[in-house]
Amino acid sequence: MRKISTVKELTEIKQAFTDKRQNSQNIRVIVGMGTCGISAGATPVWETIRDAAEKAGMDNVSVLPAGCIGMCTYEPIVEVKEPGKQTVTYIHVDAKKAAEIFEKHIKGGNPIPEYTIGGSMSGLEDIDFYKKQKRVALRNCGVVNPEDITEYIYKDGYFGLAKVLLEMTPAEVIDLVKASGLRGRGGAGFSTGMKWSFAAPNQADQKYIICNADEGDPGAFMDRAVLEGDPHAVLEAMAIGGYAIGATKGFIYVRAEYPVAVQRLNIAIAQAKELGLLGEKLLGTDFNFDIEIRLGAGAFVCGEETALIASIEGYRGMSRNKPPFPANKGLWGKPTCINNVETLANVAQIILNGAEWFKGFGTEKSPGTKVFALGGKINNTGLVEVPMGTTLREVIYDIGGGCPGGKKFKAVQTGGPSGGCITTENLDTPIDFDNLVAIGSMMGSGGMIVMDEDNCMIDIARFFLDFTVDESCGKCTPCREGTKRMHEILDRITSGEGSEEDLTTLKDLAENIKSTSLCGLGQTAPNPVLSTMNHFEDEYIAHVKDKKCPAGVCKSLINYEISMKCRGCTLCSRSCPAQAISGKVKEQHTIDQSTCLKCGICMNVCKFDAIIKK
């Protein structure tokens, strides 16, 4: 393909694609092929439809992959778009259904309502899950084919870059981004425009811009969705940022667990280079910009910017002292700007639509939207993008559909291992950077894990500590040793050997680690403990004083017993792996507590609900 050097040529590509799409009589079948879709079995679905179309000689059917549309609970999702007709969205599709959809609908022209949402033929945009959302960062995810740059251009892709390179000075770009109020979505919420303005004036033979795609919060996948579903948005924004700060080289640091994202990024980079949108003399100007992908290797701390830099340089990913800040002395000692994936996904839109448009969503101090990965005990697991200022209640109940199985909501954790839990009394808080801090949690990168009455909060705190102990880089003592000691105490408490004194020690340790650790990892590691201690003190007391786990999770603190409901069917005693249950046929059985492993199998197999957990 010829390299593009004017806006006119970019417009021509867009127009040609628009015409093609409008005039086309083709049936487009779109299969959600993000990691989540693929895990749920999208590949055989895609293959089935593709092969069937080929076999039937229907060359007017194109079967296209798309990224994650955010509705994980409905995967695999297939959309059938026939010219001049309403799009039909099929959910929970498997190979067998796919074959049927092909025969009856694609070939036969008769959609199958049973396989659509609620059997009602409603599209994704009709359901509550989408109604409260506003998609800016995710606007193209699940909509465009991420492996085709022309689809991105069709959605105004690279017009932002063109505008910047051909009409704006770097200072104007920075001012615009500053004026939009965009704050970093990677966790700290620092103004992106300010960050760029720190790196811009520094003179150096080389500057760098780095996209932080390490997405370390376990249970969060916003950035993955953007990389897999709309990789060009990240590339375009990096080039814009590069122009603004005077960097000619960019790195994307992607966590190793994201092979699909890496593959899509590689394709996207190659396509952008071919069109002269990356590489040398972008759009015919004198600006050069190249991007290289670097893979992480499974270290959470590498999401922290100085550790990330050490990792790209080829060292152990250990964080460094700040100052010097990366904007002055970053990668290989050169001025470096580090931006998160989702932050970048907003940039081209801001350039094209202006700062005022962006400030039209969200709150005064946190304009725009935020993507959350909603997971845990929630009906609609998935990705949600809402304007800042939406309340937690709206996200959890209106969009997420509440806890499954009629269970009672207990808490929601935001900010992952660095954050805290939020309880019912704060559910009406409008979400933004400052409000979440005020209620003892933080925005973090966007993980939002819902917990119900069956979750033990001390067990959850221990889980996060386990994570930080594992992931501490070991450079500073408070984090390396302190988190271990905290973990030991939590282990003691959950195994029924904790004392009230432990609670005081735990709090002291937490405060000390927070104030003396080198980097953000240690400084925030105690947060999950402090916030659970704050909101669920009674649960801690129950563990250390009464030696009970009210949620029935901590094995050492629960007992299984057989109630009067027992009919003596012997099923439990036959299923017990420890032979701890005895009793005669048709008589109430008993569990020998000294041999019981507390595996819970008896409770699962009992048909009469006779087994109780105490």
Partner: protein
């Protein structure tokens, strides 16, 4: 250098895979910060990173072996020991943990009679815990090789799944 090692997988000095690795290293001329990409490629080629391979890399990159070893032991994705034929990874990401993936892991450890991070005596399975596989919608999740098994709330199905892989024994 002796061509014997006691790391479990004997890799000889004249193993042709070294040439392949050297080819990759040579292709990186002009690239800065080569250590990680080279270790990643080496692991792809050899399956793990025995000390011979790390020595080779140190030589080629002209950096101390201690530096290579420092990096290979820092990151959890680098394996210094050979792995089983099938890799079982149980997700201990928050979404999965909240939905009970610890029970999945315990069940597997029990069935396979190994600790997390270990390989079974017959070399068939390696059991690992990972953080978020990116399919929280299916929580709790485990992955065997490239196959994802989701919604494992009922752990009694696990032995059957393992059995299937044991019978195949060879990677797909």
């Amino acid at each position: 250098m002796s061509n014997q090692c006691n790391c479990g997988g004997i890799i000889k000095e004249n193993d042709p895979r070294f040439a392949e690795l050297k080819g990759f290293i040579d292709s990186l001329v002009g690239t800065k910060g080569k250590t990680m990409p080279v270790l990643q490629e080496a692991q792809k080629i050899f399956g793990f990173l025995p000390i011979e391979v790390q020595k080779f890399i140190a030589n080629e990159l002209e950096i101390p072996l201690s530096e290579v070893y420092g990096v290979s032991t820092f990151y959890s994705q680098f394996n210094l020991e050979p792995k089983g034929i099938h890799k079982i990874s149980v997700c201990l990401g928050t979404a999965c943990y909240v939905k009970g993936s610890q029970a999945v892991l315990d069940k597997l450890a029990d069935e396979l009679e190994v600790e997390v991070g270990e390989t079974t005596a017959d070399g068939v399975f390696t059991l690992e815990a990972t953080r978020c596989l990116g399919c929280c919608g299916l929580a709790p999740v485990m992955m065997i090789d490239d196959e994802v098994y989701g919604k494992l709330e009922d752990i009694s199905v696990i032995p059957e799944i393992i059995e299937k892989y044991y019978n195949q024994r060879l990677p797909k």
